[in-house]
């Protein structure tokens, strides 16, 4: 049931389990992602969990909550552990006959709480094999505290703690490839998705929920404040991330890699970088080398992913 693809018409009929009226910025990618995840999961009773972050602080400010499903936030670095506690109590009570429903457990957290401070907790939850889905909305910096660099921040990006200055031209390090790290846990399902490719994204969430055990989906989440982009560009930028192969759409199911979308023509990385103010300083002669290196990194990773896929086809 849940693995069947839903048509837009059917999706539109589902109840939206995160209400409007939350206080996320206009044009933010995170509520779009949270809404899509909950729409995809609408066939099940769901318990959700968020680490501290934009989505969390904006969706549950006492006495209001945007969550129409049971939801818990306990701290920043521990969504994996917190939700594994909820899921374990569910199993304990189910074993005792105190609950009979088939409940799904979904964490939705930003890159700061997932790639960085919450990585240990997430890794532990994945290794222990809890039956839960962790969705990361990756906007590539600590946006909630005011756009500080995270290990998800791309090379060259200008953030408030990696400012593009006269000596240092923004972030000097590449971003961490968390999706591969999660897949390396040998969990049954890890994937990368984008809100621009909603059908692929919804399918991945539904597939993940149909699989028992720990699952991880990494979703690119444009942030117009941090990316210094147009307010209405979130979907367009996430599409460019996919079309430039900066953010390839793929899944790793029981170790088998499958690229779920191959752009007919791979766009140059400049098309993703140029509309964003955080990369503006890269388009000067002295910083050309960063764009070049960025493109090389993207090319190499895209090649590697296709080679990995070819091992199984």
């Amino acid at each position: 049931m849940a693995t069947e693809q839903l048509k837009l018409r059917e999706l539109a009929k589902k109840e939206v389990l995160i209400t409007s009226g939350h206080r996320l910025c206009a044009g933010c990618g995170a509520p779009i992602i949270a809404k899509m995840v909950l729409l995809a999961a609408a066939d099940y009773p769901v318990v959700a969990c968020s680490p501290t972050g934009c989505l969390e602080v904006s969706t549950c400010i006492s006495d209001y909550t945007a969550w129409k499903v049971p939801w818990i936030h306990s701290a920043f670095e521990n969504a994996g552990a917190t939700l594994s506690g909820v899921e374990t109590m569910y199993r304990a009570l189910k074993k005792k006959g105190k609950i009979d429903k088939e409940v799904k457990f979904i964490a939705i957290g930003g890159d700061g709480g997932t790639y960085d401070i919450g990585l240990q907790s997430l890794s532990g939850a994945m290794e222990r094999g809890h039956d839960l889905l962790y969705v990361c909305y990756d906007n590539g910096a600590y946006m909630n505290t005011g756009i500080q660099r995270s290990s998800a921040t791309p090379l060259g990006a200008d953030t408030t703690t990696s400012p593009a200055g006269s000596v240092i031209p923004g972030k000097l390090q590449r971003r961490k490839d968390l999706t591969r790290i999660m897949a390396a846990h040998n969990i049954p399902y890890a994937a990368q998705a984008s809100p621009s490719h909603w059908s692929d994204f919804i399918r991945k969430v539904r597939k993940a929920l149909s699989i028992k055990g720990p699952k991880f989906i990494n979703v690119i989440s444009p942030c117009n404040r941090g990316w210094r982009s147009r307010l209405d560009d979130a979907i367009q930028l996430s599409r460019l991330a996919v079309q430039t192969c900066y953010w390839p759409l793929y899944e790793v199911e029981d170790g088998v890699v499958r690229v779920t979308y191959k752009p007919r023509e791979k766009k140059p990385i400049e098309e993703f970088l140029k509309p964003q103010g955080r990369f503006k300083h890269l388009f000067t002669p002295e910083n050309e080398w960063i764009v070049k290196r960025f493109q090389e990194d993207v090319d190499r990773e895209w090649e590697r992913l296709q080679k990995e896929e070819s091992l199984y086809t």
Binding site: S62, P70, S74, T82, G85, T88, K101
Partner: protein, 392 residues
């Protein structure tokens, strides 16, 4: 019929947890708590309990998982000590702020640096302001009895707060002593069926746990936590009275030992109180009116009752197995706060002893009591705070 056994403190608490059979336990191994969870894990592996065990990758995750499990709506227990408790610190406040009745055994251990695995009270004293109920235990018997009572206190519908049960690392956790176990059935009926409150798994009535609350309401939330703490004392006494009926063993807010007509007295927590009581006896045999107060409920601290118990004394020494560097020992500060409102009060001095597992010997208690005799006679204090049992 009680079962008499010779067991370690860790074994005694593990046995209490077996009898209580919590729904979920999340824990991380750390010396000297390790044996406790090993024994409990064996109960799980051999089907002696129904508990789901979460073997997390850190104490921070242990407490986080306990929080998730307790919010989900069932009975939750864990155990830790020393640096493990320190790593949990952030989450201790979340557990109490969410009013989750988690019970945790704390096998008191010192904090680094330097690294030391032995017992002192720095860990639990560092957590004293976190909104947890704290029960302290002199020996394995008290640790066992306190663990059973802690669930009833924490889960009381008028309280709903997490509780930690403290016992001294190695000195109690690893030494074998005589214990009287209750049978399984009386323990299970004493603790009773878990009553969930606002469980996350009530899917038809979705709840949001852990909201953002800023300046408009946070202050009121914290006052509510203070107010619920003021109700704990009565519940502790009511649970103790019920427990006495089941076990024949009497518990209060603290133990008063030969205090009624005492002129000098010691205030001392946990295992060292056992040593000190023997010394009090020997002073009594010599006609010296010595006594001892051993706190049991340290949070909330029973100020009025402690003041009543100590008000007739001339001199009191508070012995702390933890220090607040640059301040006084934590028990000393509470005892002084308790005594200050009295018009006439004993002279109080502070001794720091036994850090990092340094032995507390009868001669240490003798020297302190002798100093108190001198203070009672002359009214003169040599030094307000001093380390004892120090190698010079």
């Amino acid at each position: 019929m009680a079962r008499v056994a010779a067991v370690t403190g860790n074994e005694a608490v593990a046995e209490a947890l077996r009898q209580i059979n919590p729904d979920v336990c999340a824990a991380y191994p750390i010396t000297p708590q390790t044996e406790l969870m090993q024994r409990f894990a064996a109960f799980v592996s051999n089907g002696k309990v129904d508990t789901e065990l979460i073997l997390v990758e850190s104490e921070h995750s242990a407490m986080s998982a306990c929080i998730g499990a307790a919010a989900a709506g069932g009975r939750v227990a864990t155990a830790t000590c020393g640096p493990g408790l320190a790593l949990m610190w952030e989450m201790l406040y979340v557990a109490s702020g969410m009013r989750l009745p988690i019970v945790m055994a704390v096998v008191n251990r010192s904090l680094s640096a330097p690294l030391n695995i032995h017992g002192d009270h720095s860990d639990a004293m560092g957590a004293r302001d976190s909104g947890w109920i704290q029960l302290w235990s002199e020996n394995a018997q008290e640790a066992y009895d306190n663990t059973i009572q802690a669930f009833r206190i924490a889960e009381n519908m008028n309280i709903r707060l997490p509780a930690m049960v403290c016992m001294d690392g190695f000195i109690i956790s690893h030494s074998i002593g005589r214990i009287e176990y209750l049978e399984d059935e009386p323990v299970r009926s004493f603790v009773g069926e878990y009553q969930p409150l606002n469980p996350l798994l009530d899917l038809d009535n979705p709840k949001s746990y852990g909201p953002l609350i800023l300046t408009d309401q946070y202050h009121e939330y914290k006052r509510a936590q203070h107010e619920v703490m003021t109700r704990v004392k009565d519940v502790v006494l009511a649970v103790a009275a019920e427990f006495e009926k089941v076990s024949g063993r009497r518990y209060g807010l603290f133990e008063s030992y030969r205090l009624d007509d005492a002129e000098i007295g010691l205030v001392i927590l946990n295992s060292a109180a056992g040593t000190a009581k023997d010394v009090v006896d020997s002073f009594r045999e010599r006609g010296i009116r010595a006594g001892l107060l051993k706190p049991r409920l340290f949070r909330p601290f029973p100020y009025e009752e402690v003041a009543q118990a100590l008000k007739g004394l001339k001199a009191v020494a508070v012995l702390d197995r933890a220090d607040s560097f640059g301040g006084y020992g934590p028990v000393f500060m509470e005892v002084c706060s308790a005594l200050y409102p009295l018009a006439e009060r004993p002279v109080v001095i502070n001794k720091i002893y036994g850090l990092g597992g340094r032995d507390f010997l009868p001669q240490h208690a003798e020297e302190v009591l002798a100093e108190l005799e001198e203070i009672a006679r002359t009214g003169k204090v040599r030094v307000a705070k001093e380390y004892i049992g120090v190698r010079e």
